[in-house]
């Protein structure tokens, strides 16, 4: 069974982004970029499936600028066997990425695609579900446990109020939630090995996809800032403030 894992290059989790003064976007020049954390969980899960013998090959895919190669190398250092970069400088929105991925799925014929549930830059939470729709495949989003056997994936999902388990006929789409696994630290030998793994580059045109954005960003602004309040010396003062000033208790 082949597993496809899409990975996105995003501003690192620890970077606090700043809105550009002309309100056209956030300033990502000279900030640290990393693999989207949920995608790292996806690569780890696919790698574990391979280590367990449930998967035979793990293919990492990234759509975006040339530097996304680094993200693919990270995926290969975790355990992906090879990488495919769909290279473009154009702005990519989730529907366009889903279409690019569909074209690659048609070509690669994986039985399972594991994606992060959302990217921490646009916070859209769409691509996996959209890809499932375009392929007419079943989906299990927000996975906290994945078991693959007998042509099925049994997936436990994080939902409001608890957990839910669904069974999907393969081929299928899974998107990862935080507790699915804890990605391994990549070791230097594996980073070196990853450099030698195959990495192909294609363009959206090669895949017959028009990635033009459908949503126009008119403005990106700072959120309203919340001002720090006061420090209270003790519980009695706190209770007094909550009762008589804020009137919330």
């Amino acid at each position: 069974m082949k597993v496809l894992v899409p990975v996105k290059r995003v501003v690192d989790y620890n970077v606090k982004v700043r809105v550009k003064s002309d309100q056209t976007g956030v300033d990502i020049a000279n900030v640290k970029m990393s693999m989207n954390p949920f995608d790292e969980i996806a690569v780890e899960e696919a790698t574990r499936l391979k280590e367990k013998g449930a998967a035979t090959e793990v293919v990492a895919v990234s759509c975006g600028v040339a530097q996304s190669q680094e993200t693919l190398r990270t995926a290969m250092a975790i355990g992906a066997d090879r990488g495919i970069l769909v290279q473009t400088d154009a702005e990519l929105q989730p529907l366009a990425v889903a279409k690019l991925l569909k074209a690659l799925v048609d070509k690669e014929q994986p039985q399972l695609v594991i994606l992060g549930k959302q990217a921490i830059d646009d916070d859209a939470n769409q691509t996996g579900q959209m890809l499932a729709a375009l392929l007419d495949w079943p989906q299990a989003t927000f996975a906290s446990k994945v078991e693959v056997a007998d042509g099925k994936a049994v997936v436990t999902r994080e939902v409001d109020g608890g957990l839910e388990t669904v069974s999907l006929k393969l081929p299928a789409i899974v998107t990862t939630d935080l507790r699915l696994n804890e990605p391994r630290y990549v070791t230097l030998p594996n980073i070196m090995k990853a450099k030698k793994k195959p990495l192909d580059t294609v363009s959206p045109a090669d895949l017959g996809v028009d990635p033009a954005p459908r949503l126009k960003t008119l403005k990106v602004a700072e959120p309203p800032q919340r001002k720090a309040g006061i420090k209270v010396p003790d519980v009695a003062t706190l209770v007094d403030k909550l009762k008589n000033e804020a009137k919330v208790v």
Binding site: A133, P138, G161, R214, K216, V220, P223, A246
Partner: protein, 309 residues
């Protein structure tokens, strides 16, 4: 111009998130219809029909719609999508699961997690964990949108009297099946709908210590939440998680206990009306957003606070 709102429910009861989504629909102008897709969900449809501003309720009732499977619910939405200009889902686990499937099938973009409606095609939504607010315009014929419930005050649950129309249920896709559900049982209000939320962070130190929050939450009638750090450490279940990747809450009172205030956590609670922070580290970023900060040992302060209320 007519908007279709997809109801959030458990086949017995209409969930509050639907009322917030109806409020966003009202901002668009035009008629508002509601789709209830479920099994034995007549009571839900009747409830939706009484909500303010609803002109019509569509009820699709079938066994394979009972558990909200994305494949079947998306197909049901598409079956009735017809001439709607807007299709709105609450940005809940269920709504986020289904909406992109509908958008992709319609070949339109989805606008996720809107917090404001500027015009029928222009919306505000947070990006980068709420560190920026993007104003986006959709040029697509149909706007598929998920609505952040804290961005819109719920419409009145009573007062309307819309007709309920039964619509044919789509066939079971056969692609997926429901296996089971483990719902955490407690008597507390739902996190996203609670008037007061008491949240714990890594400062609690253990799952055992997390119980320290119970008497305080009992006194305040509060829901209990947690930071991602506390969830990651196994102190609290994931569905308690407040933040960028968890739940977004905006209660009247938010009490952050032993939470340092990482940006990802602030993204989930900074729209709360009043924020109280209790932390032993006076430099913790949570104090930067708290209305009332108390620097101290939470193991002393929390019981004392519970007793004083």
């Amino acid at each position: 111009m007519t908007t279709l709102v997809i109801a959030e429910h458990d086949n017995a009861e209409l969930k509050g998130a639907t009322l917030n989504t109806l409020a966003a629909a009202a901002r668009l102008g035009g008629d508002v219809h509601v789709l209830v897709a479920g099994q034995g969900a007549r009571a839900v449809a009747d409830q939706a029909a009484r909500a303010a501003g609803v002109a019509k309720v569509l009820l699709a009732d079938a066994p394979h719609l009972a558990e909200g499977l994305a494949e079947n619910v998306a197909a049901q939405v598409l079956a009735v999508a017809g001439s709607y200009s807007h299709i709105l889902f609450p940005a809940t686990a269920a709504g986020k699961n289904v909406a992109p499937r509908v958008a992709a099938k319609l070949d339109v973009a989805q606008v996720s997690d809107i917090i404001a409606v500027e015009s029928p095609d222009t919306f505000q939504r947070p990006i980068y964990a709420g560190n920026a607010i993007a104003t986006v315009q959709s040029g697509d014929a149909v706007k598929v949108v998920t609505v952040r419930t804290t961005g819109f005050d719920a419409v009145a649950a009573e007062g309307g009297s819309a007709p309920v129309e039964e619509v044919a249920a789509v066939a079971d896709s056969g692609l997926s099946s429901f296996v089971g559900r483990e719902v955490a049982k407690n008597d507390r209000p739902e996190l996203t709908a609670a008037r007061v939320v008491v949240s714990g962070g890594r400062g609690l130190g253990s799952a055992e210590n997390f119980k320290l929050l119970d008497p305080l939450a009992d006194k305040l009638g509060a829901a209990v939440g947690a930071s991602r750090a506390a969830v990651d450490a196994g102190y609290a279940p994931n569905d308690w998680q407040v933040g960028q990747t968890g739940k977004i809450v905006a209660p009247q009172l938010y009490v952050a206990v032993g939470i340092s205030g990482a940006i990802q956590h602030l993204a989930g609670m900074k729209d709360s009306k009043v924020i109280v922070a209790i932390n032993k580290d006076a430099e913790a970023p949570i104090f930067g957003v708290a209305d009332y900060g108390l620097v101290g040992d939470l193991f002393q302060v929390v019981p004392e606070l519970a007793a004083a209320l």
